[in-house]
Amino acid sequence: MLSSWTFYISTLVIYFGVDLLSGISLNLQYSYAGVINFGYIVFQAAGAYAAAVMTLGPSGGASSFQQYVFGANLPFPLPLLVATAVGAALSALVGLFSLRRIRRDYQAALLLIVSLIAIEIVQADVPLFNGSNGLTGVPRPLAAVLPLSPQGYQWAYAAWVLFLCALVYLLVRWLSRSPWGRALRAMRDQEDAASAVGLNVTALRLQVFVIGGAIAGLSGGLLVQFIGAWSPDAWGYAETFVIFTAIFIGGVGNYRGVVLGVLLVPIIFIQLPQFLPQIGYPGLTDSLEWVIIGLLWMLCLLLRPRGLLPERRSIALPDLSSRSA
């Protein structure tokens, strides 16, 4: 009994870490570049696919039970690096055509359409992505090498995920306090003025989008190496909205708000109902859960439009610049 509880809690910690990376990525893209990335899951799934094929070994071709391209058997941290790079590269590609100066609501719709196109392509292209079956049997990194019990491995992996979260968090915070971060805020607050003083706003926006995509790829790689499976159904576009609800409820533009939101929404609201007794027919609890997420979302936009922990005002004086969150 006790061991099943620690197993469950360590799994939640890992999910929390992965969702936190997603939250940081979306928050960076939204609050600094003003990009609402409804296609987020595509970049996460691309990273996950890359990490999966880099650990599954060479593909057995059309005769084996799953097909994929460019299989390899890279040692431990390398698949994650590939995942990060793939997320960044795909972001650069999508960003090139979706980050023009178009209305933000169009842009959001365009990115949502990108994620729908991606799902169609993945399901249609069996030789490339194994169709809607996805990939399974992705080995856990270093599982054979480390002298750990399954319990111990769980906690070690959780610690690894949290370590990477801390690393990414510090990196993003450092970036947002740098001159580059100030340029981003200038672009967000006064785009015309920012371009008038010589900032290339399109390039800046693309840079933020690519960094967000890299984090997305990393989070996907971490998740797929833990759960061991990847499929277009489980990585659908609705997952993006869970993270968006989290950062909206927590507080856009404030990283502590993102932590709070990720703790509240994906962890408490998605995972907790699994403990509640089933009511009605099977599946009713799931539907009601989404209704409640939608209501929460709307209530939050009505009552606390800037989130529970709003972004702090940054004052444009040199000695106070470190206060900006």
Binding site: R103, D105, A109, S287, V291, G294, M298, L301
Partner: protein, 296 residues
Amino acid sequence: MLDTLASAIAFGIILASVIAIAAMGFTLQFGLTNVFNLAFGSIMTVGAFAAYLAQVNGINAWYGLGVGGVAGAALTLLLGRGLFRLYARRGAKLFEMVMVTLGLALVINYGIQAVSRNNVYQFTVLQAAPMHLGPVTITPTQAILVGIALVVFAALEALLRLSRVGKALRAMAAEPSLARSCGIRTGRVVIITWVISGFLCGMAGVVYVINSQSVGYATGELFLPLVIAAAILGGPGSPGGALAAALLMGVVTEVVSAYGGPQYSTVAGFGILVLVLLFRPSTVLGGHGRETRLTL
């Protein structure tokens, strides 16, 4: 070879009529109020389920078009005058409103999923013998759907071009504050917009299920991206543009499906929008992306 092409084009026109009715409603609503309504698909589903319930209670499927339309109009008016205005009064801008409609879409969709027990229901329309037009074989039902799309387009154009209400609508879409100072009752025009666009939305949901013969909670949601793509491609506020864009997307989707395999058909439909945004963004955006304001 040419026969395949002719059939593909005919099916493209049928698909286009289904897209076009919804896209005309969307473009009217969006062009006037500037609410980018992601709950539009959910309201389509509500219309479709209203028609389904009417059918279960013995009302002919074709009258269901009216039932669905009225349900869509009533719900849209309620949301527009109640919910959206509440948020706008509290300072929601264009973008916050997208988020509001997205939350609303989740509530309506999964609410329907909960009530409908996540089942897909059969929506039957009496089928007459198929008609042969040269190499093309279509059912009378499909021909009627094309006719409905054309009638809706003609009625909408007539309303916008010939009536006083239509003139007021066009004036408000162009410049709300100027229209108001010219003595147009803007509140009333907004109500009319919600009612007409909501009616088209609900009716489009019914048209969709008459064509697909089944109704489930995800009916409208899966269809919405095509509708939005057609509305953006056609230019906001232009029923003619929406019709032309729907025609282009429908025909391309079916032709790709006939020659390249069905799995890439939807991708091709969306691909048009992406290509246009890539190479001719000004066609879609109507000049520069000027900040517009909500009109509620």
